[in-house]
């Protein structure tokens, strides 16, 4: 009976693990999954993952079978089972022939281990080399500077023409099929840039510069998130990579390079005044106005973004109102102070911000 239980132990465990493994297999897909690659780098890593997954699963199954069989064998050996092992005479001089056989098996298993590890090492090395350089068109690389802040991402598009350089935040547009070089650093603590569908992560370290080559092959909106613990709002430091056709990308880029649109309606004009006369200007930039601080996201084309607060909230009027008045209840500990605005002023400010296409 005892023995049966022991056998069940391993059987049940193996069943549960197999079921869970199955769950893992079915867990692909999604806009923030490393098993749903949309670019060559993530695809290479995904391949490596499946190689390792299948080999390791096989190793696990073999080890468990060996364990099983040894437990079952032992049950046969002890037909006269007793409660306390103390009464079972220990085996002092193991049978030499059996020990030799077992030595051969252990040496063989070790050799297989070494072999597997060697295969993994080589596969890992070549994958690593492949993903750390632009894969297909090294001469045509778009460079984007990403700077981590507590708790948002500053994104800067370089250009040979200074008037075409611009800064945005949290949403990174890239053209499909073109290699992109991300040059990254941090302004405060260590962050880590990670968009699982596209590439592995890279740390952003103050005082150091990191680079990451990415490429997206399928248009879409992919989510990424800070992966290095960076304080209170580490959990809500998301971003999006928006991959679009080269034409769409160029159109977007041209529009982003423009200064902010001027307010048209009275309410928008009043909203601009509210913005420029309140604490907003201490941290934010709106190109084309006097607001030029760089502590917080650039709002020049705020309304063209689909989310705000570092990928946390959809860019709607209601969310924006809540955020402006009391961002601390949404992302406690973030660096934006609460604003007590008259409701008219708030409405005007929202009108103004919503117009910043």
């Amino acid at each position: 009976m005892r023995m049966m239980k022991g056998k069940l132990l391993t059987q049940r465990g193996a069943l549960a693990l197999a079921a869970a493994w199955g769950l893992m297999l079915s867990g692909c897909g999604g806009v923030n999954s490393s098993l749903n690659s949309v670019g060559p780098q993530a695809a290479r890593i995904e391949k490596l993952w499946w190689l390792m997954f299948y080999v390791c699963s096989a190793v696990f199954v073999l080890v468990m079978i060996a364990l099983f069989v040894s437990v079952i064998r032992a049950r046969q050996d002890t037909a006269t089972r007793v409660e306390i092992p103390a009464t079972d005479e220990p085996e002092l001089k193991p049978e030499p022939e059996r020990e030799r056989r077992m030595t051969r098996v252990v040496v063989g298993a070790t050799a297989v281990t070494v072999l597997i590890i060697f295969v993994f090492l080589v596969a890992s090395f070549f994958t690593g080399r492949a993903i750390s350089s632009p894969l297909y068109a090294p001469q045509n690389v778009l460079t984007i500077e990403v700077t981590g802040h507590q708790w948002w991402w500053e994104v800067r598009y370089d250009d040979a023409t200074p008037s075409r350089m611009f800064t945005t935040a949290n949403e990174i547009h890239v053209p499909v099929g073109q290699p992109v070089l991300l040059q990254m650093t941090s302004r405060d603590v260590i962050h880590s840039f990670w968009a699982p569908n596209i590439h592995g992560k890279k740390d952003l370290i103050p005082g150091k510069s990191s680079t990451l080559y990415i490429e997206v092959d399928h248009p879409g909106m992919y989510r990424g998130q800070c992966a290095e613990f960076c304080g209170h709002q580490h959990a809500n430091m998301g971003f999006y990579i928006i991959a679009e056709s080269p034409e769409d990308f160029n159109r977007w880029r041209d529009s982003q390079a423009q200064p902010a649109v001027s307010p048209v309606t009275d309410s928008q004009k009043r909203g601009q005044q509210v913005f420029l006369t309140s604490t907003c200007v201490m941290c934010h930039t709106i190109r084309g106005t006097l607001a030029a601080a760089t502590e917080a996201p650039d709002l020049t084309h705020f309304a063209s973004r689909q989310t705000f607060a570092a990928g946390t909230l959809p860019n709607t009027r209601g969310h924006l109102a809540g955020w402006v008045v009391d961002s601390q209840s949404i992302k406690p500990g973030n660096h934006m102070p609460p604003n007590s605005l008259e409701s008219d002023d708030l409405m005007a400010l929202l009108d103004y911000l919503e117009n910043l296409k």
């Binding site: 239980k5 022991g6 132990l9 391993t10 465990g13 549960a16 693990l17 893992m24 867990g27 999604g30 923030n32 999954s33 490393s34 290479r44 890593i45 490596l48 993952w49 390792m52 390791c56 696990f60 080890v63 468990m64 364990l67 040894s70 032992a74 002890t78 306390i84 092992p85 009464t87 079972d88 220990p90 077992m102 252990v106 298993a109 281990t113 070494v114 590890i117 090492l121 596969a123 890992s124 690593g128 405060d188 699982p196 590439h199 592995g200 992560k201 740390d203 103050p206 150091k208 990191s210 680079t211 989510r223 998130q225 290095e228 613990f229 580490h234 959990a235 946390t312 406690p332 500990g333």
Partner: protein, 657 residues
């Protein structure tokens, strides 16, 4: 009971002179009362304190884990705010690593190493007492801070600059840093105790190639502690220096380097994992040998694997830093080393399976926990091989995949064997058996709860869930995995509750255990349960690797050690040939006072620089007191000719064997 057993019970207890026995008892007697509590230098008492204290910290750390799982059980939960969550996960990691895992492993080592090598106390008993008090002060300091809302909140790894003066104002990180220093001192003290005891106090006959595997694991661990801890102690001094006296070790703006911290921390942090895991390998070897009724297969391979693990363990630290901008070729070396460490681990697992294969298995609770170890640790080891690969690590680093991996390795590799070890040695500690039925409930609940908690985390990590997040958005698709994990955590908590009830019940009404209820092979089972304060009346001699299994009635014992003072036999390193007798110091209050003085230095030191000069003065006074009290007689004595059964005879018979 077989004929052999009756013999073996006699073998180590030849004619005992009652008067001498009383004398010996009086000599080694522990002082009573509160003062006695603070003065004792008995390794078993101190080790039990380590174990109980560490287990209490385990329960605290477990409660923190349960709170985190409650917070993450659904998206956007508001149970804990980010500040509190950060404090709780930092304290959880710190507690489990520094206050639970390392001390409990060392505690079990400090209890059994002297018994297994056959001596009466550890080499430096007063330092041993000092180590425990330092550890206790460190733990109390951390938790005092935690309950006063100044617990650490920058993670158990405290990366700069987040933990630096600019981004973590206040005292939280200072308390963390000083707690590290406390526990590292304690760990170093324990390591020195174990190494010296093993190398110089083994019984005649126990040459290096006959040391029990358990003792080997403790020796390798202790050496790793000696080489790893100084790195983190250096770091845990530089960080408070940056914070308190404006040095700039880690400040890039002033020429410091944020990555330096990571190198120092992980140079300790990775070996730390093995410092926790290797002692557990010793538990496993002991349990497997006993419950398969044969010596562990491949002793030499096992020992060499342990030593190899100890060495390679120091060459892996950069795999915690693959996502940093370090040169790629350099990282590849660490991939190689990280994968290589699975070879010695593999060899050990294969040897154990071979042992099970050829043994006669008695399915008792300790062995069931070891079988659970195989299932879980194998998964953890394999996911570790995956993490060693730079490209794959770039995806799963700092995600729940890693959380799953290291819980599989540390709970599977250390806590399962630890529970097995508690079931196994509880009779030796207390004289009572733990309940088998409750043991099985405990195992199954823990095993199922564990897998329910941590297996889905692999999937969560691959699906993009980073670690150390206090919340997540509902549209991320992580809700079910997290809910499963939270339910599993509840099942694990239930399992621990079953265990606690089992312990309390067994202490009161448990079945009485004999000296050697399992029929085990190592020397600790040759003495009564619980062992007498002096451990052995006659030190035994051994003639093989499985002393209690191979001993004969004529196996000689060591005589001639004084019963008037706390004498131990000192033997040489390789062959355990007797060298001389050495008197160990007895109870003293000074280790406690020195611990208080050192405690004052580090705790007050973070509030005012005066803490340091005052602490230095107090420590000097305490050290004076410590060294003033001399032993009753001279420390080192020439080896007298033994009286009845001679040491020479012992050696002769050993050579004959």
């Amino acid at each position: 009971m077989t004929e052999k057993q009756k013999k073996s019970e006699k073998a180590f207890a030849p004619e005992v002179d009652e008067r001498e026995l009383h004398k010996l008892e009086r000599t080694w007697e522990e002082p009573r009362g509160i003062m006695g509590f603070l003065m004792t230098t008995n390794h078993k008492t101190i080790a039990k304190r380590y174990i109980v204290t560490a287990f209490i910290f385990f329960l605290l750390g477990g409660m923190e884990a349960a709170l985190m799982r409650l917070q993450l059980s659904r998206p956007g939960n508001n149970l804990l705010n980010p500040d509190l969550y950060n404090e709780i996960f930092s304290t959880h990691g710190t507690t489990m690593m520094f206050l639970f895992a390392v001390p409990i492993m060392e505690g079990i080592g400090l209890y059994f190493v002297p018994l297994m090598v056959g001596t009466r106390n550890v080499a430096f008993p007063r330092m041993n007492a000092f180590g425990y008090f330092i550890y206790l002060i460190g733990g109390l300091f951390l938790y005092t801070g935690f309950f006063l809302n100044v617990g650490p909140d920058a993670g158990w790894f405290a990366y700069v600059p987040l933990s630096g003066p600019e981004y973590s104002p206040g005292k939280r990180v200072d308390i963390w840093g000083q707690m590290i220093t406390f526990t590292e001192i304690a760990a170093l003290v324990g390591a020195v105790e174990i190494i010296t005891t093993v190398f110089k106090q083994r019984v005649p006959g126990m040459s290096l190639n006959r040391i029990p595997l358990f003792v080997w694991t403790q020796v390798v661990t202790s050496f790793m502690i000696i080489f790893a801890m100084p790195a983190v102690m250096l770091a845990s001094q530089m960080l408070p220096a940056d914070r308190l006296i404006s040095t700039h070790f880690f400040n890039p703006a002033e020429g410091g380097d944020a990555l330096l911290w990571q190198h120092l921390f992980w140079f300790f942090g990775h070996p730390e994992v093995y410092i926790i895991f290797i002692p557990a390998l010793g538990f496993i070897s002991s349990i497997i040998a006993t419950f398969t009724r044969r010596a562990v297969f491949g002793y030499t391979a096992m020992v060499l694997s342990l030593i190899a693990t100890g060495f390679i363990g120091f060459g892996l630290w950069v795999h915690h830093m693959f996502a940093t901008p370090l040169p790629q070729l350099g990282q590849s070396f660490f991939t190689g080393a990280s994968m290589m460490i699975s070879i010695p681990s593999g060899v050990q697992v294969f040897c154990w399976i071979a042992t099970l294969w050829s043994g006669k298995i008695h399915m008792k609770t300790p062995l069931i926990f070891v079988l659970g170890f195989f299932a879980i640790f194998t998964i953890g080891g394999l996911s570790g091989v995956m993490l060693a690969s730079v490209p794959l690590d770039l995806q799963v680093h700092d995600t729940y995949f890693v959380v799953a991996h290291f819980h599989y390795v540390l709970i599977g590799g250390a806590v399962f064997p630890l529970f097995g070890a508690i079931y196994y040695w509880f009779p030796k500690w207390t004289g009572k058996m733990l309940g088998e039925r409750a043991g099985r409930w405990h195992f199954w609940l823990f095993f199922i709860g564990f897998n329910l908690t941590f297996f889905p985390m692999h999937w969560l990590g691959l699906k993009g869930m980073p670690r150390r997040v206090y919340t997540y958005l509902p549209e991320m698709g992580w809700s079910y995995g997290n809910l499963a994990a939270s339910i599993g955590a509840g099942v694990m908590a239930l399992a621990v509750l079953v265990f606690l009830v089992n312990v309390l019940k067994s202490l009161r009404v448990g079945e009485v255990a004999g000296d050697n209820p399992w029929g085990a092979e190592t020397l600790e089972w040759s003495v009564s349960s619980p062992p007498p304060v002096y451990n052995f009346f006659y030190l035994p001699t051994v003639n093989g690797r499985n002393p209690l299994w191979s001993q004969m009635e004529e196996t000689p014992v060591v005589v001639g050690l004084s019963t008037e003072c706390r004498e131990v036999l000192v033997t040489n390193i390789l062959d355990a040939e007797p060298e001389h007798r050495y008197e160990l110091p007895g109870p003293s209050i000074w280790p406690f006072l020195l611990a208080l003085a050192v405690g004052e230095t580090f705790t007050v030191g973070i509030f005012t620089p005066w803490g340091f000069p005052v602490g230095a003065a107090l420590s000097t006074l305490a050290l004076f007191g410590w060294f003033w009290s001399k032993p009753k007689s001279e420390g080192v004595r020439a080896l007298e000719k033994p009286k009845t059964r001679s040491l020479d005879e012992a050696r002769l018979s050993e050579e004959g064997a």
